[in-house]
Symmetry: C2
Subunit: 320 residues, 2 copies
C-alpha cells in the first residue's frame, strides 16, 4: 500500500525498535538514507539499528565508521530504504517476505513488497524523500544527518551531473550545507579519488577500446579476474560501464564483461546518447533498462557476442 510522507511519519512516530535495512553492495544513497533516519529516530528517544547484508564498505567510513549496533536490539518494525525489490536485500531474501513494514524508495521498478511504501519516483535519491520525512518528524538536522543526506544525493546524481537532478535536489543540497554537511570532503571521497588498481584497469581499457561506425560506437571488454589482478572492488569497477559513452562523438558505448558466475556468458551494458535507444538494443537480446542505459546477457564467444551487438547497434543507429 502506498503512503504519503505524513502517514509515514505517523507510523514511525508510533513505532519503536526500528530495524533499517539497506540494499546489498550498498552505495551512498541507501547508506545515507539509513543513517540519516537512524540518527533522527535515536534523537527522538527510540531504539533503532541499521543493517546491511554485505556490511559497510570502508569508503563510507565518514557515514558509518565507528557505528556499533546494539546487539541486544530486538526489531519490532522494519524499514527498507532505497531497496526496489526483496532480492536486492540479500541472496536469501525469502526470509524477509511479508516482514518489511515500510519501504522508502525512489525507483520506478519498486515491486511493492512492503506493507507500506513511501515512493517518490521524481526524487533523484532516496535521501530526498528521507529529508522530507525528517522535516515531517520535526527531527533536528545535525551535521551527521546533513552529511548522510548530502552523501545520498550526490551519489545518485553523479555529483549533480545527471538528468535526474531537479531544482529541489539543489535546494536540499543548499539546506544540508547550511546545516554543516562536509560537502567538499564527501565529494572528494565519492568522485575525486581513484585507487591505483582502478587506474591500471582504466589504462588497460584505454589501450583496448574499439571504435565502430565512424567512432559513433565504442566497445570495451572487461575480462574476468580484474578484482584479484588489480586489487579493485566491484564498487569501483561498476563505474567503468559509463566509460565508453563519455568519449567525444560516441553515441553508443558498450561494456562487455566476462561473467564468472555465468560461465560462457557475458554481461553487457549499453549507454547511449538520445535519440539512440539503449533499451531497444538490449531488448532484442532479452535484456532491458532505460532509454540511455540498459543491459543484457549474451552467450557465445567474445567475437560472436560483439558481432551480435554491433548488428543490433547498427540497426538502431540507422533508425535514428
Amino acid at each position: 500500500m502506498q503512503i504519503d510522507v505524513k502517514t509515514a511519519c505517523e507510523k514511525l512516530n508510533a513505532a519503536d525498535n526500528i530495524l533499517i535495512l539497506t540494499h546489498q553492495r550498498p552505495d551512498g544513497d541507501t547508506l545515507g538514507a539509513a543513517f540519516a533516519l537512524l540518527h533522527v529516530l535515536i534523537a527522538a528517544g527510540k531504539k533503532a539499528r541499521v543493517s546491511c547484508h554485505s556490511g559497510f564498505p570502508a569508503r563510507y567510513g565518514f557515514l558509518c565508521g565507528g557505528y556499533a549496533p546494539d546487539e541486544s536490539f530486538s526489531p519490532e518494525f522494519t524499514v527498507a530504504v532505497d531497496v526496489a525489490s526483496l532480492p536486492l536485500l540479500c541472496d536469501d531474501f525469502e526470509k524477509h517476505k511479508g516482514k518489511i513494514d515500510m519501504c522508502i524508495d525512489h525507483h520506478k521498478s519498486n515491486s511493492m513488497y512492503a506493507k507500506f511504501t513511501l515512493l517518490d519516483t521524481d526524487a533523484a535519491a532516496a535521501c530526498e524523500i528521507v529529508y522530507e520525512l525528517i522535516k515531517g518528524l520535526g527531527g533536528k538536522i545535525t551535521t551527521a544527518v546533513a552529511d548522510a543526506i548530502f552523501a545520498g544525493i550526490t551519489t545518485d546524481t553523479g555529483c549533480f551531473k545527471y538528468s535526474n537532478v531537479t531544482a529541489r535536489t539543489h535546494e536540499i543540497a543548499a539546506d544540508m550545507i547550511r546545516f554543516g554537511a562536509n560537502h567538499a570532503m564527501i565529494n572528494k571521497i565519492m568522485f575525486d579519488t581513484k585507487s591505483r588498481g582502478l587506474l591500471m584497469v582504466e589504462q588497460m581499457i584505454l589501450k583496448n577500446t574499439k571504435y565502430y561506425f565512424d567512432g559513433r560506437c565504442a566497445v570495451i571488454f572487461l575480462p574476468s579476474g580484474l578484482n584479484e589482478r588489480y586489487q579493485v572492488l566491484d564498487d569501483e569497477l561498476d563505474g567503468i560501464s559509463s566509460f565508453p559513452a563519455r568519449i567525444a562523438g560516441v553515441v553508443a558505448g558498450v561494456t562487455i564483461k566476462a561473467s564468472e558466475d555465468l560461465s560462457g556468458k557475458f554481461r553487457v551494458s549499453v549507454r547511449t546518447a538520445s535519440p539512440v535507444d539503449a533499451s531497444k538494443i538490449c531488448l532484442s537480446f532479452g535484456g532491458g533498462g532505460h532509454a540511455n542505459a540498459a543491459g543484457c546477457t549474451l552467450a557465445g564467444t567474445l567475437e560472436e557476442v560483439t558481432e551480435k551487438l554491433l548488428a543490433a547497434i547498427q540497426k538502431e543507429l540507422e533508425s535514428c
Copy 2:
C-alpha cells in the same frame, strides 16, 4: 573603486553601447557571465557586444554558437567579467589600461584595474555575482540566461564538487533549473565528454605516473608538443593537473609540464590534500597560489627539477 550590486545596476542602467570583455582562453564562467549580461542588456533595449581576444571555443557552442556581433557597434562603456587583471584579457593588454569602466569578478587576486569593481570573493563563480546583478536590474531570466549562469557556476565549481561551493551556489543552480537551464546537457558537455586525443594523453600519463614517499606523492610529466601529437586543446590539457592528486593515498600531486615558450624551463603545478600546503612548496621556488593548489616555474633538466621538487615536498610532508 569598489562598488556594490546596487551601484553596479545604476551604472549599467545609465550606460549604453556596452562592450563586455571575457578573459583569454575563455572558460564557462567568463563566457557564461558575459552572455547572461549581454542577453539581459539587449532585452533592456540597449546595444551590447561580447568580445574575447582569443575567440569562442567550439565546446561552448551551446552558449555562444551563432552569436554574430553587430560590426557597427561603437563601445561607450566597457565591462570586464571574471577578469582578475589586465594581462588576462590579451597579450597587448596595455591598450586597455584605464579604459575598463567596470569589472565584475570573484578572484581574491583582482588587481583593481577598472574604474569600478564589483568584487565578491565569496562567490564560487563570477556568474553568482551576475545573477545578483540581473535580479537588481529586474532582468528576465530566459532559458539562454539560465543556461549561461548555470554553465558559469558548474564550470568554476567542478560540477558542484569543490570546496568553494556554498549553500547560495546550490540555490542559484536550483533557480536556474526552474528557469529552464539545460543542466544535464551542459554538465555532459563540460564534465562527461573526453576527446579520443585526451584519452590517449591520459593513457600515456597513467603509464608513466611515478610514486614517492610510500605513495603519498605522485608525479606526472607532460612533454611539449602534446597538442599537435594528440590533437588536444590547451583547454582539455588544463584538467590534467588535477590528475595525480586524485589517486587514492596521494596527498601531494605534481604535474611537471615542459614549456615551449620558456625554453629549458618547466611549469609545475602542485595539488595537495590538507594539511599539506601546496603554496609553501611552490613559494620556495618563487611561485605561489592557494593551500591546496599552487604553481611555480623551475629551470634545469627534468631530473634536476624533479629532485628539487621532491626535496621541498619531503620537507613539507615531514612538517605536517
